[in-house]
Amino acid sequence: MKAVARLMLAYFTGTRLLLVVTVLGALACVGGTAALLFLPPLVAQYGLPSRFSLAEEWVLDMLPIVGILCVAFGAALLPTMFAWLATSHYADVLPYGRVKLLASAFGTVALVALVASTIASLFYLHTPIPVWVVFQRALPVCLVSYALLYCVLWLIGNSGSIGKLVFGTAGVVATLFVPLRFVAVPTTWLGYLWIACAAFWGAVAAALLLAPRLKVAVGRVRHALSERFDGTSYAGAGREIDFMLGVANPWPLALGQIVPIAIAAYFLGDYRPLAAEAPPNPFLLFMTILSVVQGGLASVAATRGRALWLRAHWTRAQLFARVERAFLSHNAFTLGLLLVALVAVGTYLELPTQTLAFGLVLLLLGTALSTYLGLMVTASIGWTEAALALATMVALMVAAVYTAAPATTPATLVALHATLAAAALVFRAVAARRWASLDWMLCRSERAVRASS
Amino acid sequence: MDVFILKPHSGVPIYRQLSEQIRRMAASGQLPAGTELPSIRDLALEHAINPMTVSKVYSLLEAEGVLERNRGKPMTIARVARAQSPPAKRMQQLEPHLEQVVLAAHQLELGETEVGKALRNTWERMDERSVRRRTGAR
């Protein structure tokens, strides 16, 4: 028991950043819950008279959601430590290691799911839908979706190969949208939800606990797979710079985006929220997230660039220019596909033209911003970079929401996009300056960079 | 105890080095009767050697009567160590050194008489005092 508790404590507070996020999240959850419980209903958004202005309501609405997200991301060490313990010798050496690990993982997810379900159901306090019903349905779904979220976090954080990154982004879709479908449709029998939850956790437990027995079989499968799907394939054309940076072959990533997009389109085709009003279609939001994720590849550019630097005769400035070009051409590929997808799916979903038009621009901006942000990471990822990344992400998501909302005026959108474009240029300038004085001693090994992201 | 000089990387096993040194020092009086030897752990730690080796040496020497075990207290040099060791036995300890001299003589192509004369000279040269200084005896 004490091992389980200690592990969970480590998940939430292992690093200073996580500790802060967890604490802030907890506070926000408490504050948000209090707001939901004791304040009068926030109805200004529906046009009804209310004590609060629209802006205030928006903040009060967001508070518990931010709280849930912070608490969930506060346990971001869970996937790393789970993978560490499960694959190291310690899994076999520590007494009851696997069992306690499983218990700690489940405990963490259960804790987050409980918080999320409680708060989600409290949103319906003043509506005709009973709170208890929502809670009942939300809990099993959250137990699965947050577990998937941690899986995705791990895949993205550890993406040594394009393949894993693609699966990671597919996972983002699953975690964000599949549960919505189930919760949103009240006719789904509650039993199904619990069966799905039990099946999922049963599979996780079986995989972990039976792993020693399966090790031989798994080893063989891995052996065969690794011989087939190596991340860098020399079959594709490309210059040395592309290979070293890992952007030689954009096809897997590009095509891989198709899968999550298709899934999302299917699920969001008949998106029917519970509330009376229809909030903007989150499809654009999802696409924006995708465009950012692929840009994240750039964060390892600096560390990988070291090998290039040692081999080539370029100055640092020339190196930066070449690296920038390599990444932009690689990302342009996937961006192009994203844009095409947006147009295609957007037409299918009958999104308004304005949304489509500005959406295209937004995706472009998303890619550019994240690429340059990644290139800015020339030393270990510090507070500034993390804060900037978070702020950029939030800004892009806000922009996506506004772009998708039919009520927004073109002028606002133009202003928004212009700001984002300016930010991208600023990031580029900073990145260029940093590369000009790149200190490779400060560039930690790739593993460390990935670990800290 | 820093009187022992142990060379783990010579060909001679450590247990043999240690046991011979203790035997010699006990016989010569360098370690007088009643001297307490360090515990197995302390001696092993000091010389960074395996404690079982030390334990083996202590047991061996206890069986030979060179060391005495006292309940609850560290091993000591046995009181009757000197008397129990007849000259013949002590000469046995000198044997390996004599063999080395003979072999070296053969390599240098020196004869028995020459070596015998040199030995006598060396013996006279090294008077009591220099011997004591060299072996650190009391």
Binding site: G14, H89, Y90, V93, Y96, H223 | V12, P13, N50, M52
Partner: protein, 292 residues
């Protein structure tokens, strides 16, 4: 526990059709310090992992504390400690947190010991692991295996990255562990001088088997170098029993033999007048001669 801590009988392991180890048998008694030697790729890590139960044997079996190592119960695991060859630490945590997590799995943890050793070994417990040098990480890995005072401590190349001072401190700690005669240590190392100091039992892995499995002193008595001098010269083909290598030089020969019985038997001694000088070898020399 009075019996041996670890026993192997006819242990064998193959991967994908390749034999790594075969017919390995040994026993680790309380108080033993076992040094495992072998060339790179000889199977040292595999042997240790088989002992740990990390991987199932392809043939034979190995038991720890009386249980099959592959199915070791949790209570027995509390008596086992392991230091892997590549450190397996969570980069994001601080050293103290890492220790705290591992410590929480064990019913007993000697905080005082760890604090003292961390101080002596100059490991800053407040430091983040990702900022530590390789040597610091290795020291931390060793600390993690000492805290619960295991009866059987298994280490795979534990000092490869340590400077001589740190190595000596580590040696002293191993001696401390084994000194009371109730706890055992098994460690593999390329630093033969360390093994020479510490081990009372040696396992040499060669050609997928245990070439030598037993007392270290006996090994030194068994494998010796003979300097043979025959004033009348030696025949070109000298039959020396159990010889690992023979080299002729001028009026004599040098031979390294195994199972030295104390005198040269066979045709060589009988028909010729030979002087035989026995030279004992260091562990490193023995190892080199075996792999000539």
């Amino acid at each position: 526990m009075s019996g041996p801590y670890a026993v192997a009988r006819g242990l064998g392991k193959s991967f994908y059709g390749k034999t790594v180890l075969e017919d390995v048998s040994f026993a680790v008694e309380p108080g033993d310090i076992v040094g495992v030697l072998g060339k790179n790729g000889a199977g040292k890590t595999t042997l240790l992992e088989l002992m740990l139960g990390f991987t199932p044997p392809s043939a034979g079996g190995v038991e720890l504390f009386g249980h099959a190592s592959y199915r070791l119960p949790g209570t027995a695991k509390a008596r086992l400690g392991f230091v892997p060859q590549q450190d397996e630490l969570v980069n994001a945590l601080s050293a103290a947190d890492q220790i705290g997590v591992i410590a929480s799995f064990y019913p007993r943890w000697d905080d005082e010991l760890i604090t003292r050793l961390a101080r002596e070994w100059e490991v800053d417990l407040g430091e983040r692991i990702k900022g530590m040098s390789v040597g610091q990480r290795q020291k931390l890995s060793i600390l993690l295996a000492l805290g619960h005072r295991p009866d059987l401590l298994i280490l795979d190349e534990p000092v490869a990255s340590l400077d001589p001072v740190a190595r000596r401190q580590f040696l002293e700690q191993i001696i401390d562990v084994a000194a009371d005669g109730a706890r055992s240590v098994v460690f593999s190392s390329h630093i033969v001088s360390d093994v020479e100091r510490l081990a009372n039992k040696i396992w040499i892995i060669k050609d997928h088997r245990l070439y030598w499995q037993g007392d270290f002193d006996a090994l030194k008595d068994s494998i010796v170098r003979l300097h043979i001098r025959a004033p009348r010269g030696l025949p070109d083909e000298l039959a020396i029993p159990n010889a690992l290598s023979v080299q002729h030089n001028g009026s004599g020969a040098t031979a390294v033999v195994r199972d030295w019985s104390g005198e040269l038997n066979g045709d060589a001694a009988a028909s010729l007048r030979v002087d035989v000088e026995v030279e004992r070898l260091t562990l490193e020399d023995i190892f080199l001669e075996l792999h000539r």
